[in-house]
Symmetry: C2
Subunit: 409 residues, 2 copies
């Protein structure tokens, strides 16, 4: 076959709902040479990574480590390890990713119960409480921030009532972690999974997870028993974790002191994950969330200053992404295409009921920065104008700069 | 918590059974900035990667792409997508990774049949043929190269007889691909998975896979049907693929022209995987295999020249790894530790029945190089001497150099 050139990606400012541009420090961390899987320097890097993510998740859980895959791999590892066929799982659904949790739980042969609200709202804890009393689930599984709607589900009340009712709580915090307050221990969240490609400023491909001692107990009870150790007629099939790759009980023996060989750790992604958390701990977790709040507020003010309408219940919006109604008469995909081709700036389209109606604009991770916000607003003004929707000149920029404390020009 | 320093891995020459040092070109490819998931440049990079791996797998299969996880993720994706509960799967076992296939197939609730030979041998196709006739499997699943024993299973006969018997053939080629001849189409292998961290000279964390049209047909028949489309009482539960993350039917819609959103592609690992294959295609696949043959032969000659005994049926050894009996009186782990601490060179220990008896020395990917072979042999000579096992001075070096065509000094 003909040979290919080295891939040289075009310069892009990624202001969609993620993935976003990686922090250059993360890219540099990934360019380090590999070392062996059980090299003392490698196991130390794994231990460092566990400690760093305990800080990021606000937990003391020993069982804090990485799943070698994308954020979706972290979700599946948590659910397939916790759910036994026939278990009842209650899922609050307020966007696309609630449906994903439902889909994965169904493949685990759970009996799935749903609390659903329209896109753009969050779920009232009273609704979840009623459903818990009615359905007696083993597990409540929810996302914190659902990028499909930009909403951020409050979790403290959910955690409290799950603990009172002796129900496990899982949360997917991929879209929200690092950009919005999340406290695994204080909120009683028993299982959590994330990804690097949103507020953590890394590439997709590694999924930090944490499990409370309660969750670990449920999972390790399902540990595989080797065939030779079973009594006549005894079987473990009913409860055995169905996946080897996502078997959290085995992964705990790999990341833990026993260091039992499992997969070959994805070394470069470990380097990336470690650096993502290292930067947050160095900058301070509270300071990182505050940075997302500030730039998210500036972007929100900016799109309102351009006269655009914002989607959903803004009081429950994630800091790091805003949904914007595509103005009447503007072809959303054409405008997005022009932003990308002419300015090198990517903003997001939407899924399902919001497709063609809403753009999603992110300010997260490395791109939660003043210059990224202002450049995006300036370009958006021009693209809207050329697509037949003139806006007040500089209306977005002035509004954003006011949030940053500058006097309007 | 206290802050951590940037991770700075120590310099290591990784001469074990993998992972090995990544080609610096692959590390550079990974340091490129991210782009959006549906950016035209991104989908082009995905299409390039599919084309490049078709060349590496020697196939015209349209269904050639990456699983976002380690080599083990590729195995599980293939097996969970092909195997329905109750299917019979026949597994030739000649080392640790055959047992892994068995374990994963069991978790898929397959009826697993085994053809087992002692470690250090390969499986006679006649034995597989007899077992196929007796057990009538849907699938034969085997590894090509099993690093636990260094053996390379011949696959051409297996492929022919599986095709004759209308049985699907899956092969895990993680350890062998790029260093030993493999021809997916010519050998009738219907499903194949690999990893980057061996002869492909990349980091662990991406699993190239390919599926024949026959395999794709079996998999797409299991495509999930949404609840609303089922007739009353109808169910898809019996055949639905149990994993969302590893659902190859869905992944084909993501990598194919429909570009249906699934996971967020692990962009940096895509860059790595593309570059690994690009280098092989640039250098030539045959030339790459020949390079592995040459340096593998030099290492084999070298360890024999040091008076060490080699493990297993050398006529079926993979080019890229050799098993060496740890000499009587030498503490294998202590000697390995000295090689690592004093010389920065890593060689491999062994698993299961070979633990404490065999070292495994690799010559693969970026480390299939003359200087890597000679440096390892020179250091090994010194470590053996200081561990009470003197060898002929320069015996390893002279034997290796003879393979390279130099006159012994």
């Amino acid at each position: 076959m003909s040979t290919f050139a080295t891939f040289n990606p075009p310069p892009r400012l990624l202001m969609g709902p993620g993935p976003i541009n990686a922090d250059p420090r993360v890219l540099r961390a990934m360019s380090a040479q590999l070392i062996g899987q059980f090299d003392p320097a490698m196991t130390q890097a794994m231990n460092d990574t566990m400690a760093l993510y305990r800080a990021v998740f606000a937990t003391v859980n020993e069982a804090t480590f990485l799943i070698d895959g994308t954020a979706r791999a972290g979700i599946e590892a948590a659910l397939v390890s916790l759910i036994e066929p026939g278990d009842t799982v209650l899922i609050p659904v307020f966007g696309r990713f609630g449906h994903l949790l439902r889909e994965i739980a169904e493949r685990c042969d759970a009996t799935v119960e749903i609390c659903e609200v329209p896109w753009g709202q969050v779920v009232d804890p009273a609704m979840v409480e009623e459903a818990i009393r009615r359905t007696r689930p083993k597990l409540v599984a929810t996302v914190q921030g659902d990028t499909s709607t930009t909403m951020c589900q409050p979790l403290a009340d959910l955690g409290r009532l799950c603990r009172e009712q002796d129900v496990l709580l899982y949360a997917d915090v991929t879209a929200s972690l690092g950009g919005n307050t999340f406290e695994a221990d204080a909120w009683h969240v028993d299982a959590v999974s994330a990804g690097l490609q949103k507020c953590l400023a890394g590439p997709s491909g590694s999924a930090p997870v944490t499990f409370s001692p309660r969750a670990v107990e449920v999972i390790t009870r399902r540990k595989s028993i080797e065939a030779g150790l079973l009594a006549d007629g005894e079987t473990t099939a009913a409860t055995r974790i169905r996946s080897n790759y996502f078997d959290v009980a085995m992964l705990l023996d790999y990341w833990g002191e026993r260091r039992l060989n499992h997969h070959t750790e994805a070394t470069s992604m470990l380097y990336a994950a470690r650096e993502c958390a290292r930067i947050i701990v160095e900058d301070g977790l509270d300071e990182t969330i505050e940075r997302h709040r500030l730039h998210g507020e500036a972007m929100l003010a900016g799109v309102l200053g351009l006269g655009l309408a914002v989607f959903g219940d803004v009081s429950h919006k994630m800091n790091n992404v805003v949904g914007v109604h595509i103005p009447e008469g503007v072809d959303g995909d054409r405008a997005r295409g022009e932003l990308l081709e002419q300015f090198g700036i990517e903003i997001g389209t939407s899924f399902g009921p919001l497709h063609g109606k809403i753009w999603r604009i992110g300010t997260m991770g490395y791109n939660a920065r003043t210059d990224a916000v202002l450049t995006t607003l300036a370009a958006l003004e021009q693209v809207l104008r050329r697509n037949g929707h003139p806006t007040p000149q500089g209306g977005g920029i002035d509004a954003a700069l006011e949030v940053y404390g500058s006097t309007a020009s």
